[in-house]
């Protein structure tokens, strides 16, 4: 356009010059006017001088008028109105020069102007003469100057000579050309009826120039927007890309680590920001991303390292995960087994199976006794129905069938005790015992079969038998009601354990019904009645052999044992049906003794049983224990411990032995406590229980206050306080898994210390840390400042980084 316009302008100018006669326009010292801000004056002068004689003049005047207006509007530049005839020329000139409105100077003829223009350097085309005032504006002067130069260069071609002086001024005014151009354009477009094509072209050129002026500014905006848009686009794209990348990872994860690592790192780096935005819609994540930015900015190297680490980690972790999973599964299986095994001693009463094993072991111990007792039990069953009669029959039956004198004696002692006990109690118990009796019989039979296996148990049984025998004999001698009661309380606990063990051993059908009932029920650990009943039954046959061999034991001790035994089963009876109270009293020594010894033998103390029975027995025990002699009990305990150790070592595992040892002192405690007062024994078993767990199990609970506070903080709604137990259990399980995982990771890395990277790996596996969400974000979000300082290095003055990087 410009060249064409130039040509046209040139053409016009040449034409003008050639055609029109050189008139002497009313020209003042053009230079003066140019230099000075004679913009206003010039138009006036022009007006004065310029007499519209020709249409050109008229046009010129109109242009001048417009220029004046423009000047008034825009004090930018002293627009140079076209002079005289060469309105078009001047306009062209102004346009050519990319200048503002041209202010024609009266002093200069168009020819002069043109000449000046031509003379002026191509680059330095001043153009406007009357633009003195618009010096202040130099916005796109550079562009304008360039354009002017271009345009002027075009103008140079035509035969125009311009005064050198004007050139400087024109140059000076180039800066204002930009504004003038726009203004001039406006004027041209608005006012004049473009006659000359050139004008139009000029105007168009001007219009063209104007957009060029604007474009830079707009470009900036667009650039900014473009950046923003690009970011958004990235976000959106990243979703699909991310999935692809993930798939690529999974595919390549196990193969080309290096390549994939690189690709991953690239993808992560490129899509890192956007991925986060795309994947996560939470507003927090945007903040996190911002944080990420800051983090990245803070530690560009670290981030890239993290990314690369993350990228590389995924693969090894994938493999490691598989391995870990295998390991973890294995470990879990093992742990599960171990836990299950471990659970027994710790959890105590709830595990019948475990106890059953122990019972079985102990059953073997009592094998010899069981054989004899089975027959007695059967006889006892018949006896139960008739309280007194049964007892008598048992005695009769036992007497002739003395496979072992001790056993029969024990049974006799038991029977005698039973007889002495209140008959109605026995009757009531008998009713309950009937149900348990068949069970007990079956178990006794099974037990008898097992008896043949264990020689050690026999030995132990033998040891126990003499004790039982002695105890039985003592029981016979002693008063049964009161003493039995007290003793029953003491050995009750032990009896419970023994009863549990003796459950499978229903040797003592000869014993009162309760005993038989107790044994099977104890096995189930659910029917206290049965268990209590069985205890005395089991105790009976056991007592028999023991008493027989219990020659070495002091009478006092035996008595104590017998009392204990009698009391124990009686107490047990008391616990369950509560009708056993009298029954227990009725079955003093024998039952207690048997149960007592059984407890000792078994020592598979079932915490549950003990605890269940302890409160119930407490009442009875208290009564009975008070009467017992401490010395006897202590001696019994010692012997019990010895007996237990003998019977158990080979078969029971270590933890069971520990439990047994634990339980041994239990009755001691109870006995002692019983003497002091009734109230004490009741709480004692419970704290004793906890003590047992204490050393074995450490306290692993968060404080209640802290836990509830944190939970309420995160919940942000009301939280009822009854959630605490549930929450505590949940946290317990969670800590178990947490510790297990962390330990696994550390050990896998052949370290003995849990490191930060272990925890980070766990976070990653849980899905809290992804490629888009780095750990630092979470750290900054959740942790306190002092912890953050530990984890995220902070640069301080003096090129010091805290914490120190240990490299």
């Amino acid at each position: 356009m410009d060249p064409t316009e130039d040509l046209s302008s040139r053409v016009l100018l040449t034409h003008i010059l050639s055609t029109e006669t050189p008139r002497t326009p009313i020209t003042r010292s053009a230079s003066q006017q140019l230099s000075t801000s004679a913009t206003k004056s010039s138009p006036r002068l022009r007006n004065k001088y310029a007499v519209p004689q020709t249409p050109k003049a008229i046009l010129k005047l109109s242009q001048i008028h417009k220029l004046r207006e423009s000047i008034s509007r825009q004090p930018l530049n002293a627009t140079n109105a076209t002079r005289g005839r060469t309105r078009s020329v001047s306009s062209r000139l102004s346009n050519m020069h990319a200048a503002n409105s041209m202010v024609l100077e009266d002093g200069e003829t168009p020819r002069h102007l043109l000449m000046n223009i031509l003379q002026t350097e191509p680059v330095m085309t001043p153009l406007t003469h009357g633009r003195a005032a618009s010096e202040g504006r130099q916005p796109s002067s550079a562009n304008l100057s360039k354009r002017c130069s271009i345009e002027l260069s075009g103008l140079d071609l035509p035969d125009l000579t311009i005064g050198a002086a004007s050139t400087q001024k024109r140059l000076f005014r180039k800066r204002h050309l930009t504004f003038d151009i726009s203004a001039f354009e406006k004027r041209l477009n608005a006012g004049e009826d473009l006659v000359d094509e050139n004008e139009e072209s000029e105007q168009s050129s001007l219009t063209l120039s104007s957009p060029t002026l604007k474009t830079p500014f707009v470009e900036v905006r667009t650039e900014k927007r473009g950046l923003q848009r690009r970011a958004l686009q990235r976000r959106r794209i990243s979703e699909t890309g991310f999935d692809a990348a993930v798939d690529g990872w999974s595919m390549e994860g196990e193969t080309g680590r290096g390549q994939t690592a690189q690709s991953l790192s690239k993808t992560t780096s490129s899509e890192g920001f956007t991925l986060g935005l795309s994947k996560l819609s939470d507003s927090d994540i945007t903040s996190e991303i911002i944080h990420r930015h800051t983090a990245l900015c803070a530690q560009p190297g670290a981030m890239t390292d993290n990314l690369s680490i993350v990228a590389t980690r995924d693969k090894p972790t994938v493999r490691v995960e598989e391995e870990d999973q295998m390991e973890v599964e294995q470990m879990e299986v093992e742990l599960g087994k171990d836990k299950s095994v471990y659970a027994f001693p710790t959890e105590g009463g709830g595990r019948t199976s475990k106890w059953k094993f122990d019972c079985d072991d102990q059953m073997k111990d009592n094998a010899t006794v069981a054989e004899e007792e089975t027959g007695v039990a059967e006889s006892l069953d018949t006896v139960r129905e008739d309280a007194a009669n049964t007892e008598e029959e048992e005695n009769n039956v036992e007497a002739p069938t003395e496979l072992e004198d001790t056993q029969t004696e024990e049974q006799d002692g038991v029977d005698s005790q039973v007889e002495e006990d209140v008959v109605p109690d026995t009757q009531t118990e008998e009713q309950d015992g009937v149900d348990s009796e068949p069970e007990g019989v079956a178990e006794a039979v099974s037990q008898s079969e097992e008896e043949d296996v264990a020689p050690d148990s026999q030995e132990a049984a033998v040891d126990i038998e003499p004790e039982e025998d002695s105890a039985k004999s003592q029981s016979e001698e002693e008063e049964e009601t009161a003493d039995d009661q007290s003793e029953q309380e003491v050995p009750a606990e032990e009896v419970e354990d023994d009863l549990a063990d003796s459950q499978p051993e229903d040797k003592h059908d000869g014993k009162p019904e309760g005993e038989d009932a107790e044994q099977p029920s104890e096995q189930e650990e659910r029917d206290l009645e049965h268990t209590s009943r069985r205890a005395p039954r089991s105790e009976g046959p056991l007592v028999v052999p023991v008493t027989e061999a219990a020659g070495d034991l002091d009478d006092a001790t035996e008595e104590g044992w017998s009392d204990g035994k009698s009391k124990a089963p009686s107490s047990l009876h008391m616990e369950s049906p509560k009708t056993h109270a009298s029954y227990t009293d009725a079955d003093p020594g024998a039952d207690n003794e048997n149960s007592f010894h059984l407890l000792e033998l078994a020592n598979d103390t079932k915490d549950g049983l003990l605890n269940d029975k302890s409160p119930e027995e407490a009442a009875e025990e208290e009564e009975e224990e008070e009467e017992e002699e401490e010395e006897e009990k202590r001696k019994k305990k010692r012997r019990r411990t010895v007996m237990v150790s003998l019977s158990i070592p080979s078969k029971t595992p270590a933890f069971v032995r520990q439990k047994m040892n634990f339980f041994q002192p239990k009755p001691q405690n109870i006995q002692a406590s019983s003497r002091t007062g009734e109230a004490i024994p009741v709480p004692k078993p419970k704290p004793v229980r906890k003590k047992e767990k204490g050393p074995a199990k450490k306290q692993t609970e968060l404080p209640k206050r802290y836990l509830m506070d944190v939970f309420k903080h995160f919940a942000k709604t009301k939280v009822s306080p009854d959630v605490y137990p549930v929450l505590r259990d949940i946290m317990d399980k969670y800590f178990d898994r947490l510790a297990e995982d962390l330990e696994t990771y550390a050990l896998h890395a052949k370290r003995k210390t849990i490191e930060v990277e272990d925890a980070v790996l766990l976070l990653r596996r849980q899905g809290h840390v992804t490629d888009t969400v780095p750990v630092e974000v979470l750290i900054e979000k959740y942790l306190r400042m002092e912890q953050r300082k530990l984890l995220i290095p902070i640069a301080t003055s003096g090129n010091v980084v805290i914490p120190k990087k240990r490299l």
């Binding site: 939970f711 800590f735 962390l742 849990i754």
Partner: protein, 75 residues
């Protein structure tokens, strides 16, 4: 108000099968882990409570959510 989570280190060392050490930095990370777990748990419990149109989180809400969260938090 809320101070350091007490006993975290002892809990972890207790529950760990083998004797293992815990760095203070990793102790902070463990706290982070527990906080994240608790926050997720609380959020889920809150949602569950809202389902039942109750503004208060109760024990049964928590119980219903716990199993799912524990499964999610296994590494």
């Amino acid at each position: 108000m809320l101070k350091k989570a007490p006993k975290l280190k002892s809990i972890i060392t207790t529950k760990a099968k083998t004797t293992i050490n815990v760095r203070p930095t990793s102790e902070a990370m463990i706290e982070l882990l527990t906080l994240m777990f608790l926050s997720n748990l609380a959020e889920e419990a809150k949602a569950k409570a809202f389902e039942e149109k109750s503004a208060t989180i109760r024990a049964h809400h928590l119980k219903a959510v716990s199993k799912k969260m524990l499964k999610k938090a296994k590494g």
